[in-house]
C-alpha cells in the first residue's frame, strides 16, 4: 500500500476561498506562482472533504525566495522562515506533531542550493512532509542570477559569459536519496498540477513535486517548448502507472527500451505497435531513474506525472513507536527516578 486510505468522514465543507488569507498577493503580474497558489487552494477543499482532514491541521512552511511568500497567502498555519531551512523546520514540525499535514513551499535556489543538505536528508528520513518545489531555473527575488537548475551556458546577471555549471536534476537527486514519492508537473497545466497535489497528500512519507514554473521577468519562456500549444504535444509525455509510454498529438509516438536505453518509436511506421512501448511502473526505482534522464536527451519528451511512489517507513512513525516500546519496556518515565539515577546515597 502506498496510498492514504483514511475513510471519508463528515467534515466542514470548504471552498478554495476558505484557503485565501486575504493578504494582497505580491508576485509579479503573470508569474507562474499565481497558478500554483490557485491549484493548491482548489485542491485542498477536495483533500479535506475526502480524507476527513481539517483546515487547522494544515501547515505551510517556506524558506526565502519568491515562492516562499506562499504561506502568507494561505489561510492555514504558516511559517516563513530563513533561506534554505524550510525542509529542516518542516521536519521539526512534523516529528513534533505527526497529526499535522505539513507542506513546504520552496524554490530551486532555496531547496537545491542553500538548502540542499536539508532537502536530501528529509528525503532520506522519509518524514511525511510534502515539498512543492517551484523550479523557474533562475533567482527571482534577488533579480536574475543563475540558479542551481539554470542550464549550462545560460546568460544571467551573475553569469554574463554563460553559466559554466551543470544543473541539478531534482528528480534524479531525489531518487538518489531514496525518496519515496517523486513527481513533476507544471504551472501551465492546472488540472495535472491539482492531481499531483492530491497524490502528494495521499502518499505516506516525503513527497517531492517539482513544478516547472515560469518567471515572467527574469527567465520568461524557459518552458515554452513544453507549454506552447504548437510544441507541447511533441515534447511532453504524461506518465501514468501501468500505462504504456505514448505521446504526440494523436498518440502516435512511444518510448521503448533498447537494453537500458530509452528510444523513441513511431507507432505508425508499420514496425512498432503500442505493445512495444515501455509500461510505467511507479514502484520501480530503476525505471524512475531512466525516466528522470529523459531531460538529458533532446530527442525524448519531458515526463510529467509520478516517477516513483513506494512505501518506506516514516521517521516520525518509527520515533513514536520507539517511544511506545520504551514506555512498555521501562514503564512511563518518572522524573523522581530519573533524578535519583542508578546509583545514589543518603546523607543523614
Amino acid at each position: 500500500m502506498t496510498e492514504n486510505t483514511n475513510t471519508p468522514k463528515t467534515v466542514p465543507q470548504y471552498t478554495a476561498k476558505d484557503f485565501a488569507s486575504g493578504r494582497d498577493v505580491r508576485w509579479c503580474p503573470g508569474c507562474g506562482d499565481y497558478s500554483v497558489l490557485a491549484q493548491i487552494q482548489r485542491t485542498f477543499p477536495q483533500i479535506l472533504a475526502e480524507y476527513g482532514q481539517v483546515k487547522e491541521n494544515i501547515v505551510f512552511i517556506s524558506g526565502i525566495g519568491c515562492s516562499s511568500r506562499l504561506p502568507y497567502y494561505m489561510d492555514t498555519y504558516g511559517f516563513h522562515t530563513i533561506h534554505g531551512r524550510a525542509t529542516a523546520i518542516a521536519s521539526g514540525v512534523k516529528v513534533a506533531n505527526p497529526e499535522l499535514s505539513v507542506w513546504v513551499a520552496t524554490g530551486d535556489g532555496d531547496c537545491l542550493s542553500i538548502g540542499g543538505n536539508h532537502f536530501i536528508h528529509l528525503l532520506r528520513r522519509n518524514i511525511d512532509v510534502n515539498i512543492l518545489l517551484f523550479n523557474n531555473r533562475i533567482y527571482g527575488l534577488t533579480k536574475g542570477q543563475a540558479s542551481p537548475t539554470s542550464e549550462h551556458g545560460k546568460v544571467t546577471k551573475s553569469s554574463p559569459f554563460g553559466s559554466i555549471e551543470y544543473p541539478v536534476n531534482p528528480v534524479s537527486l531525489a531518487l538518489g536519496m531514496e525518496g519515496s514519492f517523486i513527481a513533476r508537473s507544471m504551472d501551465k497545466d492546472p488540472k495535472h498540477l491539482q492531481q499531483m497535489i492530491l497524490r502528494c497528500y495521499q502518499h505516506y512519507g516525503t513527497t517531492l513535486l517539482e513544478i516547472l514554473q515560469n518567471c515572467v521577468i527574469f527567465n520568461d519562456g524557459a518552458y515554452n517548448l513544453y507549454t506552447n500549444k504548437e510544441t507541447r504535444d511533441e515534447h511532453v509525455i504524461y506518465i501514468e502507472n501501468e500505462k504504456p509510454l505514448v505521446f504526440g498529438k494523436n498518440k502516435e509516438k512511444g518510448i521503448k527500451l533498447d537494453g537500458w536505453k530509452p528510444v523513441l518509436i513511431d507507432l505508425n511506421d508499420g514496425k512498432h505497435s503500442i505493445s512495444d512501448c515501455l509500461v510505467h511502473d511507479e514502484t520501480s526505482k530503476d525505471l524512475a531513474f531512466i525516466l528522470s534522464s529523459f531531460i538529458d536527451n533532446p530527442l525524448l519528451p519531458l515526463p510529467l506525472g509520478v516517477f516513483l511512489a513506494r512505501r518506506r517507513n516514516r521517521y516520525e512513525v518509527e520515533m513514536e513507536n520507539q517511544i511506545e516500546m520504551a514506555k512498555e519496556k521501562y514503564g512511563a518515565g518518572k522524573i523522581e527516578e530519573l533524578l535519583k539515577g542508578s546509583s545514589s546515597w543518603e546523607i543523614k
Binding site: H80, T81, N117, Y330, G333, L338
Partner: protein
C-alpha cells in the same frame, strides 16, 4: 593534605608488629593516571562513588586524550582522573595533587608537574622498562636517577601482583592484565581507610553474566587492598572526615548529564514534550546521547544532518508546541546564529546550549574556554537581544537548564545557556531535589479566538503561543519584520523602530524575574572578585582560602549575563576594586565597562585550562598588597 612522613621508596619494614599511623586530613586530591586503555576513568569513578557515598564533598575532573586510541605507552595517550574530597564544602577539583597513581612512565611524566612537593607517587614498577621509558621519552629511569627526590615514591609491582593473584584461574593473559587497575583501586581504598564493598557490589552487577570476571576483578581488588595491609610499606594511612553536607539523597552528576536531566525535568514540569535537535560535537555530544536514552519520558531527540538543521528542527518543534532545544559547542553555535535570529523575530521559546571549548575555528575541541560570551550576546545580525545564562557547576547545569526553559516559555524567546568543557566533564555530588522543590513552569497555549492577534502582548510582553491544529487561529509568522499586534509583514519605518525597542524591552524586563546577585565572603571589603561560568568554583575556593587566612575579600558569581540581575550595578559600585578572572581576553570585563562605566581589574588566561584556585589566590594577594 599535609603529610610530612618520610618513607623510603619500596623498603619493606620487617617489624611484624608494625601498624601504620591513621592520620586525619581535611582535603585530599588523588589522580589516577595511566594509558587510555588502562581503565583509569573506571577506576576513578569507582573511587568517587565510594568516597561520595561515605559523605564527602567531592570535585572531579576526568581528562582523556583527544585521540580515540593513542598508541599505548605514549605521552599523548595518557588518561587521567582527578578526584578531590574533603570534610568541607569545595567548589573545584583542586589545585595540585596529593597522590599520583602512575600506571606507566608516560603517566608519571605528564602528571608530575601537578603533584605537590612531598606528594605521594604510586608507580607501577612493572611498566618502567626500557620500551615504556622510551615511549615516555625518559632517558633514565626516574625511579632510579634521583629525579623524584622530595616525593614519597612507592614502587609497586602492580602488573605482576595482579597476574600472581589470578594465576590459577587460567584467564587469557590479556584479560588478566586488564584487571590491574583494580589492584590500584584496592590499594587506594586501604590507604584512605575505605571499604571496597561498594565496588564489589558494582562488579557483581556489572559482570552478572560473566562470573569469571567478577571473580578475577574482586580478587585483584582485594589483593591491592591487602598489599597495603600486609607489606607494610606505607607508614601512614589517611582519613578524611565526612563533610557537613545538607541532608538528603545524593548522586554523582557531570555537567552534560545535568543539562539533559534539567531539560527533561523542565519539560515534565511544563507538561510539554521535549524535542532536542542536535548534531554531534565535542564536548557537547553527551547531552544528546543522554537524551536519546529518555524515550520512555517521551523525549524526541533528533540527530540532525548539521548544526543548522539541529536548531531549525527545534524551531519547527517549538512552533508545533514542544519544549525545544539544541545543544552544541562554539563552532556549531556560529552556524546556529542565523536561526537564533529567526527565533527572536518569530518569538518562539527555545533553549540553545553552548558547551564552550577552545576557539576560534576548530580550536581546542577537548579543552575548556569561556570565549563565546560575546558570540552569545552579539553573534547575530540586527538588534537581536537574547537572554544568556551561564553555569558554574554541574548542579547549576541542572537548575539553569530548567531556568532557561522557564524564561524561554514565559517570555517567548530563545535563551542561550553557556556551559564549558570543564563543567561538562567534571562531576560533583548532586543533591537530588524533590519534585515539589523545583520551579513550576506555566504554559498557556492560546485557544480563544476572540481578540487573538499573533503579535499581541501579555503583561510579560510575550506574544501568544498557539499550537497548529487549534481551530480558528490559523495565522502566519516569519522572519520578516512584523507589524505590532497584527503580526502582518510590515516595512513601516516607525513600526520597525518600535518593534526593535519592544524586543529589547521584553528581554530587559526579565531582570525583575530573576534572583539578585548575591555577594559571598566578607561583604565589607575592598575587593570583590566577580566570577562567571566555570571560573566561579575557583573564585569561591580562592576567596575562601583568603578568608581562612584572615583576609577580607568578597566574591559573587554572575549566572545571568543578559539581562544581569538588577542589583548588579549597585553591588559593583560599592567595591573600590573588582577583579574579573576569565578564561578569555576579558569579555565580561568589557561588558561591565560598557554597561555600567565601572572599571574592573582583568585577569585572563586562555590556555584551554580552567583557573586554579591558587592562581586567583595569588592575584588577589597581589591586588591586596598594592
Amino acid at each position: 593534605m599535609e603529610d610530612n612522613t618520610k618513607v623510603n621508596s619500596g623498603v619493606k619494614k620487617n617489624n611484624a608488629k608494625f601498624k601504620p599511623i591513621l592520620k586525619t586530613v581535611q582535603d585530599v586530591t588523588i589522580r589516577f593516571a595511566g594509558d587510555s586503555g588502562d581503565g583509569m576513568q573506571l577506576t576513578g569513578s569507582q573511587f568517587t562513588d565510594t568516597i561520595a557515598a561515605t559523605g564527602h564533598d567531592i570535585g572531579i575532573l576526568p581528562d582523556f586524550p583527544a585521540d580515540i586510541r593513542a598508541p599505548a605507552g605514549s605521552l599523548y595517550g595518557v588518561s587521567g582522573y582527578t578526584i578531590r574530597f574533603s570534610n568541607h564544602d569545595i567548589h573545584t577539583s583542586g589545585d595540585s595533587v596529593d597522590v599520583l597513581v602512575a600506571m606507566n612512565p608516560a603517566a608519571l611524566k605528564v602528571n608530575l608537574k601537578d603533584l605537590k612537593k612531598n606528594g605521594i607517587i604510586i608507580a607501577n614498577l612493572d611498566t618502567f622498562d626500557r620500551k615504556n621509558l622510551d615511549l615516555a621519552q625518559y632517558e633514565k629511569n626516574p625511579l632510579e636517577d634521583g629525579s623524584l627526590e622530595g616525593y614519597n615514591v612507592y614502587e609497586i609491582p602492580i602488573t605482576r601482583s595482579t597476574l600472581e593473584s589470578l594465576k590459577d584461574m587460567n584467564l587469557p593473559q590479556k584479560t588478566a592484565q586488564k584487571c590491574k587497575n583494580f589492584f590500584a583501586l584496592g590499594l587506594l581504598y586501604w590507604l584512605y581507610n575505605k571499604s571496597y564493598d561498594f565496588t564489589l557490589t558494582w562488579l557483581r552487577e556489572k559482570f552478572k553474566n560473566q562470573p569469571e570476571l567478577i571473580e578475577a576483578n574482586s580478587r585483584v581488588l582485594k589483593a591491592g587492598y591487602y598489599h597495603g595491609e600486609i607489606t607494610e610499606i606505607f607508614t601512614t594511612r589517611f582519613e578524611v572526615e565526612p563533610a557537613k553536607l545538607k541532608k538528603g539523597t545524593y548522586r554523582n552528576l557531570n555537567g552534560n548529564e545535568a543539562i539533559a536531566l534539567g531539560l527533561t525535568t523542565a519539560a515534565a514540569r511544563a507538561g510539554l514534550q521535549l524535542f532536542v535537535g542536535s548534531y554531534p560535537i565535542t564536548p557537547a555530544s553527551e547531552i544528546m546521547q543522554t537524551l536519546a536514552k529518555y524515550k520512555h519520558f517521551g523525549v524526541k531527540m533528533f540527530q540532525a544532518e548539521d548544526e543548522i538543521a539541529g536548531i531549525c528542527t527545534a524551531i519547527g518543534a517549538s512552533f508545533a508546541g514542544c519544549l525545544a532545544g539544541t545543544t552544541t559547542s562554539g563552532p556549531g553555535m556560529a552556524l546556529k546564529n542565523e536561526a537564533i535570529g529567526l527565533a527572536v523575530m518569530a518569538e518562539l521559546p527555545l533553549v540553545v546550549v553552548n558547551v564552550q571549548r577552545g576557539g576560534p575555528s576548530t580550536g581546542l575541541p577537548t579543552k575548556t574556554e569561556q570565549a563565546d560570551l560575546f558570540q552569545a550576546m552579539f553573534g547575530r545580525n540586527g538588534e537581536s537581544p537574547v537572554p544568556v545564562l551561564a553555569v558554574s557547576s554541574p548542579t547549576d547545569c541542572f537548575y539553569l537548564a530548567i531556568e532557561a526553559a522557564r524564561i524561554a516559555i514565559k517570555y517567548m524567546t530563545p535563551v542561550i545557556l553557556l556551559s564549558d568543557g570543564f563543567i561538562a566533564q567534571g562531576s560533583e555530588p548532586f543533591r537530588v531535589p524533590k519534585i515539589s522543590e523545583l520551579p513550576e513552569i506555566k504554559v498557556i497555549f492560546q485557544t480563544r479566538r476572540d481578540g487573538f492577534f499573533p503579535y499581541s502582548r501579555s503583561e510579560n510582553l510575550a506574544r501568544p503561543w498557539v499550537k497548529p491544529g487549534t481551530k480558528g487561529l490559523e495565522h502566519r509568522i516569519g522572519g520578516l519584520e512584523k507589524q505590532n499586534v497584527s503580526g502582518n509583514v510590515s516595512y513601516e519605518p516607525e513600526n520597525h523602530h518600535y518593534m526593535v525597542k519592544l524586543r529589547e524591552k521584553k528581554i530587559k524586563k526579565i531582570e525583575t524575574d530573576i534572583p539578585e546577585l548575591k555577594v559571598e565572603g566578607v561583604k565589607d571589603s575592598e575587593l570583590l572578585v566577580l566570577g562567571w561560568g566555570s571560573t566561579g568554583g575557583a573564585v569561591a575556593d580562592a576567596v575562601e582560602n583568603h578568608i581562612l587566612k584572615g583576609k577580607k575579600v568578597a566574591y559573587a558569581i554572575l549566572k545571568y549575563l543578559n539581562p544581569m540581575p538588577k542589583n548588579t550595578e549597585r553591588i559593583l559600585k560599592s567595591y573600590p576594586k573588582i577583579l574579573v578572572p576569565e578564561v578569555n581576553l576579558g569579555q565580561l570585563a568589557k561588558l561591565i565597562r560598557c554597561e555600567f562605566l565601572i572599571d574592573v581589574i582583568q585577569f585572563n588566561k586562555v590556555k584551554g585550562l580552567p583557573f586554579k584556585p591558587s592562581e586567583i589566590e595569588a592575584k588577589i594577594e597581589e591586588i591586596l598588597k598594592v
